[in-house]
Symmetry: C2
Subunit: 344 residues, 2 copies
DNA sequence: AATCATCCTTTGAACGATCAAATTCTCATC
DNA sequence: GATGAGAATTTGATCGTTCAAAGGATGATT
């Protein structure tokens, strides 16, 4: 059980100096091919791997991303974050980056964690999720020169185009537009909407997607829009209540929702009588045969890493390749036919 | 915008040497109180935090745990892992430990990741989840002298008491025993069971909990047990199918399940006519008012850290304090009344 | 007052990598 | 063959911390 080989061991075996080995690892181009091959076979022979902490100490880079893991809010939609986490970890690993977790009780505490992780040189970039209006975290990060990318647009008007704020987001407008258009194409005439109270950056955006799809199909007054929609807090119960209200007025023959939680409630409340489309394509939706809008979390993760590493060579589907500061990714509508939900 | 303060800066301000500062941080007891106070105020004044990589390089310890994040299997029960991840991260942070993620495509690949993380000195312990019969991962870790704790018992007969294998697990037997006993106490006489095909360490354990509770209540033949239970793969659809079979024979007036996925299917299939109890207390269960057995993931996380750090002072509820090598934690039955699931 | 043990503090040397500058090698050119 | 420019490689210093051992107070004992 010998100690782990160091760069010095590799150098000795290959008959070169430490620095040459280092160059083979970091800037292979400047090493003569035959030397490089000799070093590489020595690396393979010894099973050498650079000691990350030593490297970090010297370079002052950690090759590690920090991301906060939330205490599972609603829960149903919580799994979106986890899928994102998985995609991010996997794709980060492919680029030699690690992902480190941390928790925080509130935005203020999260900022304290930023400082701690920065000071300890544990991470050299942060990935933020669930940004909100007037988010203090991004401001702190910008002021303190920390690199970061958010999954979620900054919803403050001025912030949206802040050149220091890199973001990736999913086009909720497009998702709800697709869902609504699909229902209209199926012959449904009065497609309702269940979403969250305004102001909500994400929520308002999704509502606009529904509204615009309706308008493209035919003239709709604001009163009609109001009659066909409900704004409630997220949750299965609330979704069910909203659905019963909409059904009572007899004013809808299909409903699109801002989340799977709402959609699940709506689906059960309607007893499967009218089509319901959710958002997030959570496992619950898949299990119950609920149609839903799926966020392409792989693409989001790829976009995040792309922006962070500054390598804009990745192909990211529909992402606008011309803008190096943010990515707006298109979600995908998953249509299903719920079979098993019985009538009330 | 000055550079981050180092231990040397603190020493200069406090008028002591580097090592004394280091001692204040690591072994405060050996520093004279007045010196210690002086150093601490200098630390506070400068906002000094040790550079973790430098520390790691010197001590050869990373103070970091590695844990694999799975690609979201069924999904409904997947959130259990996430809640665990959150609890682990939070409690680890309290002890100055960090949590680093990695992914792997299969157990073999996971072992390769172990090696990589070990060689890079990125982590100094691993936390494994979802152990299974004859798990090659634990064997590798033991052979290679890596410290680790598993969330989940080693189900091989010989492995269970391997002194090198530290584990924490939730007592599934107890959970299903409680659930079954509660239904019996409510006056239900024929409590059925929907679980997974044998052999399944976890699944068989849970089934035994159900069986034993029934037997304690009155004599039951093996034929009766077989008639009142079904073994199917995990999933909402399968749970529903199993429930319809049980209902068709008219042989059950309540059902306990090995998972919330199964229970959700069963609940919908039964139209809420008979009580169903799930396992994991996932957000879906909470949202639908489905009774479920909750795993105390905080306690599990605490147990994992307790075993890893070797500090056995933590109070862990019902955990047997006498055994320093593993913890068996008791789950908690959450009884709810589903209101909204309509009859088929 | 000298001696010694005890406690507290300081000093030099790592840990394993990369940076910056110095050195050696290679090869075309005179 | 000598010269020089550019490429390839090596050398010494350094990142911030802890270890091991040496140094200096302090106070009790003789």
């Amino acid at each position: 059980m010998s100690a782990l080989p160091t760069i010095h061991d590799v150098a000795r075996v290959a008959g070169v100096s430490r620095q040459t080995v280092s160059n083979v690892l970091n800037t292979p181009a400047i090493v003569r091919p035959d030397t490089r091959a000799r070093v590489q076979s020595a690396i393979a022979e010894l099973g050498y791997r650079p000691h990350e902490s030593a490297r970090r100490l010297r370079t002052r880079k950690s090759s590690t991303l920090g991301i906060r893991i939330d205490p599972m809010t609603d829960g149903i939609s919580g799994s979106v974050l986890d899928r994102f986490l998985h995609a991010l970890t996997e794709q980060a690993a492919r680029q030699g980056l690690r992902v480190m977790l941390f928790t925080a009780t509130d935005p203020h505490d999260e900022i304290a964690q930023f400082a701690r992780l920065r000071d300890a040189a544990d991470v050299d970039a942060f990935v933020l999720t669930s940004t909100f209006h007037g988010d203090p975290r991004t401001q702190w990060l910008i002021e303190n020169g920390q690199s970061f990318v958010t999954f979620g647009r900054p919803w403050g008007i001025d912030d949206m185009n802040d050149p220091q704020h890199l973001w990736v987001d999913v086009d909720g407008w497009f998702g709800l537009h697709e869902a609504t258009a699909a229902l209209l194409a199926q012959g449904h005439r009065r497609v309702g909407y269940i979403g969250w109270p305004s102001p909500s950056g994400t929520g308002d955006d999704r509502r606009r997607g529904w509204r615009d799809a309706l308008r493209e199909h035919g003239p709709v007054s604001d009163d009609e829009l109001a009659a066909m929609s409900r704004a409630v807090e997220d949750g299965v119960t609330q979704g069910g209540a909203a659905m019963r209200e909409l059904l009572a007025t007899g004013d809808v023959d299909a409903v699109v929702c801002a989340s799977d939680s709402l959609a699940l409630g709506a689906l059960i409340a309607s007893g499967g009588r009218i089509p319901v489309v959710g958002y997030d394509n959570t496992p619950v939706a898949a299990a119950l045969g609920l149609s839903s809008v799926e966020q392409p979390l792989d693409e989001v993760a790829a976009g995040v890493l792309d922006l962070l590493t500054g390598v804009h060579g990745g192909r990211l589907g529909d992402a606008p390749a011309h803008d190096p500061r943010h990515r707006l990714v298109r979600p995908r509508l998953i249509l299903r036919t719920p079979e098993r939900i019985p009538a009330q």
